[in-house]
């Protein structure tokens, strides 16, 4: 009975489920990427430490900007995304006449940005202080140091946490059905409403979410492994010719 009901739902509503998956992925992927960009900017600004070369004006500006960013992070981490979606959608509706989907993407991006800012900041803090000192000692400016040396390492360090945000977003985008975007949760709810097969429909929904997050973690793990490939570490004192050759092979041709 259960199985045949499930098959029936698939036959009748397969397309709308797929559309739901598409919207869910669209919202989750754009939200995570845009959130990452916001997080890089916000986290990067918050991690700047002005040294004695900074003028008083830039010191004051930094204080004010930090204050604003702290409020942003505090509010968006401290209130439910469902409430943020409703509030922001209606707040700006008369002003910009946007669609539900546009509003959903903006809300999830800003919300993710607040979390990403903290992730990037801790990634930045995990970069060895010596890296910053060496860059400054070579004459690089604060922003060159950040862009060339600190952020690339911080992103790498923070990658697992960034990937985790993506998986959270696949699942948590479901709360955005509150503003009627036709993502997976919304579709499932309407299917259940019209078939009265509640258990079966939500079971299917759960399975689809699980498949999506599983695929996402496999892809994220593959990317993480790929990033590590450039860094084959040998023991510091290991300078015998055999291990040198190994190092050559693993890092691409080094010279001769």
């Amino acid at each position: 009975m259960f199985i045949s009901n499930i098959l029936k739902i698939f036959r009748t509503y397969g397309t709308s489920l797929l559309l739901g998956v598409r919207t869910t992925l669209l919202v989750a992927i754009t939200g995570t990427l845009a959130g990452l960009v916001i997080g890089l900017i916000v986290g990067g600004i918050r991690a700047i430490r002005l040294d004695f070369t900074a003028s008083n004006a830039s010191r004051i500006t930094k204080k004010i900007v930090d204050g604003i960013l702290n409020v942003y992070i505090g509010i968006f981490r401290g209130t439910p995304m469902m409430v943020q979606a409703l509030f922001i959608y209606y707040l700006l509706l008369d002003l910009i006449h946007w669609t539900y989907l546009q509003a959903a993407i903006v809300v999830i991006s800003i919300n993710t940005g607040a979390y990403m800012a903290e992730i990037i900041r801790s990634g930045i803090q995990s970069v060895d202080e010596g890296q910053r000192e060496a860059a400054r000692a070579l004459g690089m400016s604060n922003s060159q140091t950040m862009m060339e040396v600190i952020l690339p390492q911080a992103i790498k360090n923070a990658f697992p946490a960034v990937g985790n945000e993506f998986i959270v977003n696949i699942k948590d985008s479901s709360v955005l059905m509150i503003i009627s975007i036709t993502e997976l949760m919304f579709q499932a709810k309407s299917i259940a409403g019209s078939t009265f097969l509640f258990t079966e429909t939500y079971f299917i929904e759960a399975v689809i979410y699980f498949i999506l997050t599983t695929i996402a973690s496999i892809v994220l793990n593959a990317i993480e492994r790929h990033m590590d490939n450039g860094n084959v570490s040998l023991p510091m004192s290991d300078t015998n010719p055999a291990s040198m050759n190994l190092a050559y092979h693993q890092t691409g041709k080094a010279g001769k």
Binding site: D128, E133, R136, A254
Partner: protein
């Protein structure tokens, strides 16, 4: 005229007074070693010269300018090379990029010029074969040689070494010291904080013994090592020899 001239600098970290009035100068082409116990203030003194630490009072003139009043710190620092105990090679770049990127960013050289310079200096420190290697695959001695090449790429007029061999296994110390000997022989002005007494004696024009935040003795190596004037210097050296 002195290339580096330090007058009466003081530096506190919180309540700890690390430098208690340092007067010190280095002429062009001189090699000066700073020796002393850990915590004596010699590293802080070195770090003040390229403004990684800012003294609380006093004056530092380098290349004839008062660097504490200089607002263009970045172009000043580009003229002063620095090597660290922990090498601090950029781990997100390979060996060549470590040497190339700062030249492009700070000196606005083209990639072609920068690479040419970098390869030339990597060859000089014997690391040419490793130019495409990731820095994590290198041994400590190799890392430090790359760090020296990276600093030299900026055409520094003055090189600062902060315990360049202290983090190395004993068998790798010589490969780094040999590179430094070569630089000294070429007449590069160098200030070196080191615990390698034999090297200090052999390579320096002058040795400065720092203890408890002051310069106790500043003299030729023969004098410092054979007939130090201060009993504190003698005591320190006895513990080392």
């Amino acid at each position: 005229m002195a290339l580096v001239e330090i007058r009466n600098i003081h530096k506190n970290f919180g309540t700890l007074e690390v430098l208690k009035g340092i007067d010190f100068s280095v002429d062009e082409g001189e090699v000066v070693c700073l020796i002393g116990r850990s915590g004596s203030g010699k590293s802080t003194m070195l770090r003040c010269i390229n403004l990684l630490e800012i003294p609380d009072s006093g004056e530092i003139r380098v290349f004839g300018e008062n660097i504490l009043e200089n607002r263009d710190v970045n172009s000043y620092r580009a003229k002063v090379g620095m090597c660290f105990q922990q090498f601090n090679l950029f781990t997100n770049m390979n060996v060549l990029e470590n040497c190339v990127r700062p030249q492009i960013k700070v000196l606005k050289r083209t990639r072609k010029e920068a690479e040419k310079k970098a390869l030339q200096l990597l060859a000089k420190v014997g690391m040419l074969d490793f130019s495409r290697a990731s820095v994590n695959t290198l041994s400590g001695g190799q890392k430090q040689r790359v760090a020296i090449a990276r600093a030299l790429c900026m055409d520094p007029k003055l090189m600062l070494f902060d315990e360049p061999t202290s983090a190395l296994d004993p068998e790798m110390v010589q490969e780094v010291l040999n590179v430094m000997r070569e630089l000294a022989a070429e007449g590069l002005t160098m200030i070196i904080v080191t615990h390698e007494m034999r090297f200090a004696r052999e390579v320096s024009d002058r040795i400065v013994f720092v203890d408890d935040g002051i310069i106790v003795e500043d003299d030729k190596p023969e004098v410092i090592f054979t007939r130090p004037k201060s009993p504190r210097t003698a005591e320190f050296l006895r513990a080392f020899m």
